[in-house]
Structure formats: structure tokens, C-alpha cells
Amino acid sequence: MKKIQIVAVILMSMLFFTACDIHDTLDQDVIVGNMAPQVYWEVASSTVTAGSNVPFTAQYYSTSEAAIDHLEVWYNVDEQEAKTVNCPWTTSLVFNFTSTTSVEKRISQKISEYPHIETNWSKALSAYTFTATFPTSNTLASISWIKPTTFDSTKMVSYFGAEFMQHFKDSLYSKMQAVDFQKMYQGLNLVTNFKIYLDSTFNNNTGKYDYHFPIDAQGNMPVPAAIRAIYQTIPFADLIFNTSNANYEVEFTRSYSINANLETIDTKGVNGSAIKTTITLN
């Protein structure tokens, strides 16, 4: 009997004392608070034009004593950016810059409100149902600048930042080899006879000569001063110009998506949420 009493006390103690932040026995095992209204919705399209209204159909009901008061659409705004810059002149390496980001730009907030109307009751569905729309902002229209045929340095700075072009140019220079300089300089008609800057070594594996910059006393192949000086004069735009397609190898896209939610609020202020829907704006 004593053992039973001890065990009972231990169990009772555990039940009441384990209600800490992580293991809240009451919260885990029983329903507390008020019953929230149930709501389901379907958005007509997962892609819409920025500035247009998004149609949706909603179904909702409440099992609580409190009547439904109204419904609200909430959404936040995420921004997606994709950037690519490529130098088409290099043959010894693939040199490009690629970046994709997706970040929340605006927190979720109420966008529109809809009154609860008793006559919306559907006997067949055993729920209230209605169709409506919610607005989007035309300021969230996507922007794209894809392989333009004319270079716009203002856009380049706006989309990639003020430091990007110089950083790209410096990084490219540090990676380029003689064959890359040769292709670029000849392609841009900067040098008529590039071979005067080159030396060659017979490659036993390929049975051909490999062309490179002259080897110095330390065994390195530094870029000749004349080649270096010419490089400094090349505009950034020329570094990314694709002569085959007559366009610039830069791509920038910025687009927005919203994560929308329909909430049903009863007269006690208790709200029930539908499943969040992501909608892409274009």
C-alpha cells in the first residue's frame, strides 16, 4: 500500500511539475482555449500580374458558440533576385558570377477584409462559401534585364552595386591565362600581333606547343606590362560582350511573391487560418 502511495505521489508530482516551457503536460494533452473557426480557400492562380486582383473561393464554418464576425486576407512579400555575369572570352576557365537570393521584404499584414454574410451558407457544403478577390501592388512587378544588346551602366550599378564592375574586372584578371588574354585582345581588336607577347613550350603529351607568357627567373609567367596596361583600358562592358550573339552576358531578374493567408475571425476575436498559399507576381 505504501508503495502505491509513493508511486502515486511521484506520478502526481511529475504531472504538475513537468509543466515547464518544453514539456507542458497540460498544453500537450488537452485542448485549452476557444475553438477557432475552420476555413479553407483556393486561389484561382498561383501566378498573377502585379497590380491585379487575385480571385479566390473560400469555405468556412464554426463549431464554437461564437458567431463568425468577418474574414481577412493577410500576406507578406518575398523578393527573389537572380544575377549572372559571364566573361565569354576565357577558354582556360569558365569565369562567371552567379547569385540567387530570396528574402522577406515585408512582414505579413492585413490586406483586405470581408464581412460575414449569413446568406452565404451552403447546405450542400455545410459551410459558408463565397468568392472574392484581394489586391496586389503594381510596384511589385518583376524586372528583368537579360543579355541586352546595348549596355546600360546605370542599370548595372543599380542592380549589381557600385563596386561590382571593378571587382569583377580585378578577379577576372587574376584568373586569366595567356590564351584568354589572346582571345580577348584579338576579339576586341586591341592587339594586331599577340604572339610577340608569347613564348611556347613543346607538350610531349599532346605533341603540340603550349603558348604562354615568358617564364621569368623565378619560374613564373607574369602578365607582360604592356598586356597589363591594355587591360586597364578595357571597359567593363567589353569584358562581357559576346561577339557571336552581339549581346552582353549579363542577366538580372527581380521578382516578388506573396505568401497569402485567409483568416476567419469570430465575435470573440478567435481566428482560424487557412493553409498559406504562395503566389508569384509578374
Binding site: 505504501k2 502511495q5 509513493i6 505521489v9 511521484i10 508530482s13 511529475m14 511539475f17 513537468t18 515547464c20 516551457d21 518544453i22 514539456h23 484561382a44 492562380s45 498561383s46 501566378t47 500580374t49 497590380g51 512579400v77 523578393e79 537572380a82 549572372t84 569558365v94 528574402v103 522577406e104 521584404k105 515585408r106 512582414i107 499584414q109 492585413k110 490586406i111 489586391p135 496586389t136 501592388s137 503594381n138 510596384t139 511589385l140 512587378a141 524586372i143 528583368s144 537579360i146 543579355k147 557571336s244 550573339n245 549581346n247 542577366e251 531578374t253 521578382s255 508569384t280 509578374n282
Partner: protein
């Protein structure tokens, strides 16, 4: 109960409660650390443009913190304020980090995007609803939020071929209302509007006017890399002076839409997600592929199926028969889904080696064909597939190369480990790397693409001829060329294009226009003398020709139903 017993009980209770309480988390007390009890919302409280967050709008910030204390705000633009509810106007567009600090409790930082004022361009309603090339006049409406009544300067730029009411070319217009115009080219005609507000140049706005052809013709759809799904009227030879430009449907192509399929009034886009080559997906959560259903005009986009489990389970290639869409994953099998399904998820359960999928079991797997262990190896890489005369043709490009043919009756009820009965249909292009094919029923010819080094290209032959191709050298008579004699060579060099050995993008889909027998495809060219682009084989000339140069294309599909627009 005696005193000693009571002490025992109390002791036990004390020890239990001591250990139980020890799991409470210590919350940070440092004021500038994030605190879950600090919260705030913001909204524009001006009467108009409440969802636009324009520069100069009055934004109200409200602390919703459970924590008690004085609220101080840092708006991220160098200005601050104090109070539970404050307002602020941003002078410059951009993204700002707004920080609320509750004294003695902590802080919360959230971003706010402030947009520059942007003119809202709209097309006035068109009589009949359709803007037809060379005949329909359209007009525009512009709304410019200008709360400070600043000077407005409008500069319009029209696409080539725009005509005013007198029939004169209209390239640009300065002023708010450019009047009525019509277009002499088909496709999305982009009208641009540059506005200066108070002398400050705003971000350019644009409006695509969808200009229809003047008679009903089929439509080609194609998915552009890092771009949108496009549509092109298949006019054949365009009238003199008229350009047939593509329509931008305004729907993103996705990551890697290797196949798109048109059926009835919808386009089914199979996007295999960001990762489409090998990855060691040990946690089986790198899947990000999906099938979306796009209405033929692009006005409605619905999700049919998403995969967030195994990366290899993403939908790569597809085929529609009746009311079912068949889709192949990367290297295991083919699954079906009803065309009317929406918002479904691909769920894997059990061990990855069994690929058990309760809702979408495989229709056929590598291991449920007699070829397994006798041609098809474990994880044989999938490519295009479809049915010809009741026989499945399943392209494989790695760990079993060729077109593996079988009938429904050849599909085994359970996986095998080898030694199965080989399907009588046999393997075509055995040992080669066929990426895609399309069957021309009317002309009884098969078009296929392969990317075996030295043999890359598009081929055209009958089924009898296909059966007689035993080695790559047998391919030569069937290879298609451009008018200049050159062939098409997709990129198969690592680092130059997308993909890796056995699963380069190649020519990932061929689409037939049944009306004239043309076959369309996207080429990512490895040959510097043949540009990448949207191409077609023209049966009338017997040559491959460009449709659009320079564009990088994944999947292609044809809506054979004729219409002026879509």
C-alpha cells in the same frame, strides 16, 4: 501516515520537482538581443495606395510586445522615434531594417520595402476583346500617384511596327495620352513608359499588348532558361513586312523544365528543380521539382504536383495519354497522375532503396522490366519517353543506353534482380544516348536526338530503319542538317553547359506540328558556327532552320488547335 513517511513523500516530491524545473530555458536578458516577447507590425495609414508602400507614404509602426518597457524605434534610415505607436515617412525607396527595442527586455528587427512611385499602365478595353495585327486600335490609361503634385513628364516608346491612326509609324510619344495605335507585328508588343516626376526619373514601366494573328493557326510553346514560358504563332510564311514575335505568357519557366506538354486547353510544365544531376541526398529532402498547369493564355497557373522529398523523385520527362499524365523521375521509373489532379504532393515512405510511394506508385520501373540486369542497370538515367503504336519507347542515357521498348503486358508485377524475360519489342539505338524523340503518325517517321560524341544531332527515319541501326555509323543517312550543311551539336562538355555525363540537357524535347510536319526543338549549341536557339526541321525544305536565334530553350510543345491568339 507518520511524520517519517510524510518527510519521505515530501522528499520524493521535492527531488522530482527539482529535476523537472531544471528544464526551463533561460531567456536572454540583454536588451539588444532578440526577444520573442518583442513584436511589432507596420502598415500604411494613408487613405490611398495602402498596399504600395510608396516613398513618402505614412507608415505606422505598432508595438505588439508582450514585454513591458519603453519602446524605441530605429527606422533604418538614420532616424529614430519613441513610443508604442509611431509613424514615419521614408524619403528614398529601398529596403530598410526597422528595429524595435523594448527597454529592459530586448529587440526585434524586421525589414520593410519602400517602393518608388511607378506609373500604372493599363490597356483600355478592346472591342471584341482581341487585338488583331494591323486592324485593331488600342489606347492606354496611365495612373501616376503624385501626392505632392509634382511636375509629370511622360515619354512613351513603342515597338517597331506601331502605327498611329493616320497609318504613320509611331516610335515614341511625349505626353500622357499617346492616342490610339495599332501594331503590324504579332506577339507581345512591349510598350514602355518613362516618367519624370518633379524632374526625377522613375523606374521604367512596361505593358505587353498581346497582338493576335489575323487568321487561326497552331501555337508553339517553349520554356526559356531563366525566363518565362513563351508562345509563338506557327504562321509558316509570314506576310511581307509582318514579324511573328513570341508572346510572353508572364509565367516563369521554372528551374529546369525539360518537358512541357500541351493537352486540351492547358500546358503541363514538368520542372525537375534546381538539382537534376547526381547528388548524395542522404536526408532525402532535396527534391524541389513540380508539375504546374498553365492555361493556354498564361492567365491561370495551378500546381498539380510538388516534390519536396528525394531530389531524384522530381518530374523530369512526361507523356500524356487519355486522362493521364505519365512522368519519369531521374533514374528509377515512370509514374502516372490524372490530368485533373491539383495540389498533390509526392510522398516517399520507407527506405530509399524501395522508393515506396503510397499515393503515386510507379507505373513501370527499371526493375519491373525484363531488361533489368540485361541492358538496364540500377539507376539507369531516364530521358524522353512515349508510346508509338501501342509500344512504349523509353530513352535511357546512362547505365543502360538506348530506347528500351516494351508493352504494358511486359511490365512485371514486382521488381526483379535480373534474368527476366526480355520484351519482344527490343532495344533501339542500343548503346547510344537518345535524349528525346517524337513520332509523326501521319508521315510514319520518327525524329530523335542523341548526344553521343561525334554523332550529336537530330535524326529522322522510319521505324523499320530505326530497327536496322545497330551501330553509330549506321546513323549517318538519317542525320538532319541546316541549309549550309552543318548539323546541330548540343553542349556535352562539363562546365560549358548544364548537366554532367549521361545527363546533359541536350535537345531535351522535340515537338511536332501535325499540320505541316515541322519538328521544333531548342538547341544549346556547342558549335560556335551554329548559334543556340529555337529551331525546327522543315519537311518542306528537308532542312533544319532557325525560328528564333539566341534564345536558350528547354521544353517545347505544340497546341495543334488553330486560333488567332491562343
Amino acid at each position: 501516515m507518520n511524520t517519517i513517511q510524510k518527510i519521505k513523500y515530501l522528499g520524493v516530491a521535492f527531488v522530482v520537482s527539482f529535476f523537472s524545473f531544471s528544464c526551463i530555458d533561460e531567456l536572454p536578458l540583454v536588451e539588444n538581443l532578440p526577444n520573442p516577447d518583442v513584436a511589432f507590425t507596420y502598415s500604411v495609414i494613408d487613405n490611398t495606395y495602402q498596399i504600395d508602400y510608396y516613398v513618402g507614404a505614412t507608415v505606422q509602426f505598432v508595438s505588439k510586445s508582450a514585454a513591458q518597457g519603453t519602446c524605441s524605434w530605429d527606422f533604418g534610415d538614420g532616424t529614430t522615434a519613441a513610443g508604442t505607436t509611431v509613424t514615419h515617412k521614408y524619403a528614398v525607396a529601398g529596403t530598410y531594417a526597422v528595429k524595435l527595442t523594448v527597454e529592459g527586455s530586448g529587440s526585434l528587427t524586421q525589414t520593410i520595402l519602400i517602393s518608388d512611385i511607378r506609373p500604372i499602365m493599363k490597356l483600355n478595353p478592346i472591342e471584341g476583346g482581341l487585338c488583331e495585327v494591323l486592324s485593331t486600335y488600342v489606347s492606354f490609361n496611365v495612373e501616376l500617384p503624385n501626392p505632392e503634385a509634382l511636375t509629370e513628364e511622360y515619354t512613351w516608346t513603342f515597338p517597331a511596327g506601331t502605327l498611329d491612326e493616320s497609318g504613320a509609324a509611331k516610335e515614341s510619344f511625349i505626353g500622357k495620352d499617346p492616342g490610339r495605335v495599332k501594331f503590324s507585328n504579332v506577339g507581345s508588343q512591349t510598350v514602355r513608359l518613362q516618367v519624370k516626376l518633379g524632374g526625377r526619373l522613375l523606374e521604367e514601366s512596361m505593358l505587353n499588348v498581346q497582338v493576335a494573328y489575323n487568321s487561326a493557326v497552331p501555337t508553339l510553346y517553349f520554356a526559356v532558361k531563366t525566363g518565362n514560358i513563351m508562345a509563338l504563332k506557327l504562321v509558316g510564311t509570314a506576310p511581307a513586312g509582318m514579324q511573328i514575335n513570341p508572346f510572353d505568357l508572364g509565367v516563369k519557366s521554372g528551374q529546369h523544365p525539360l518537358n512541357i506538354l500541351f493537352n486540351d486547353t492547358s500546358l503541363y510544365v514538368l520542372d525537375c528543380g534546381k538539382q537534376f544531376t547526381y547528388v548524395n541526398d542522404v536526408d532525402e529532402n532535396l527534391g524541389d521539382g513540380r508539375i504546374t498547369v498553365v492555361s493556354k493564355s498564361g492567365s491561370k497557373v495551378e500546381t498539380m504536383l510538388t516534390n519536396t522529398t528525394q531530389a531524384f523523385g522530381d518530374p523530369f520527362y512526361g507523356y500524356i495519354e487519355g486522362t493521364k499524365l505519365f512522368f519519369a523521375d531521374r533514374n528509377t521509373g515512370i509514374t502516372t497522375i490524372n490530368l485533373n489532379e491539383r495540389n498533390r504532393s509526392l510522398i516517399f515512405t520507407g527506405y530509399s532503396t524501395t522508393h515506396y510511394r503510397p499515393d503515386f506508385p510507379y507505373y513501370v520501373q527499371n526493375t519491373t522490366l525484363g531488361y533489368y540486369g540485361q541492358g538496364i542497370s540500377f539507376g539507369a538515367i531516364n530521358a524522353g519517353f512515349g508510346k508509338i503504336n501501342g509500344v512504349w519507347y523509353w530513352c535511357k542515357t546512362f547505365s543502360g543506353n538506348g530506347i528500351f521498348r516494351f508493352t504494358d503486358a511486359d511490365i512485371l508485377p514486382a521488381p526483379i534482380t535480373g534474368n527476366g524475360v526480355l520484351p519482344a519489342s527490343g532495344v533501339a539505338l542500343d548503346g547510344m544516348s537518345p535524349k528525346s524523340f517524337v513520332w509523326d503518325t501521319k508521315n510514319q517517321v520518327l525524329y530523335f536526338s542523341i548526344y553521343d560524341t561525334g554523332y550529336e544531332g537530330i535524326y529522322r527515319c522510319t521505324l523499320a530503319q530505326l530497327n536496322n541501326i545497330k551501330s553509330r555509323t549506321d546513323l549517318a543517312p538519317f542525320k538532319l542538317t541546316l541549309a549550309n550543311g552543318k548539323t546541330v551539336t548540343p553542349i556535352t562538355e562539363v562546365g560549358k553547359g548544364e548537366g554532367s555525363a549521361g545527363e546533359f540537357i541536350g535537345i531535351c524535347q522535340l515537338a511536332l506540328d501535325e499540320n505541316d510536319g515541322s519538328v521544333y526543338f531548342g538547341l544549346r549549341s556547342a558549335d560556335a558556327t551554329v548559334k543556340s536557339g529555337l529551331m525546327r526541321y522543315n519537311p518542306a525544305s528537308g532542312k533544319i532552320e532557325y525560328v528564333i536565334q539566341g534564345v536558350e530553350v528547354y521544353g517545347v510543345a505544340v497546341n495543334k488547335a488553330k486560333a488567332k491568339l491562343f
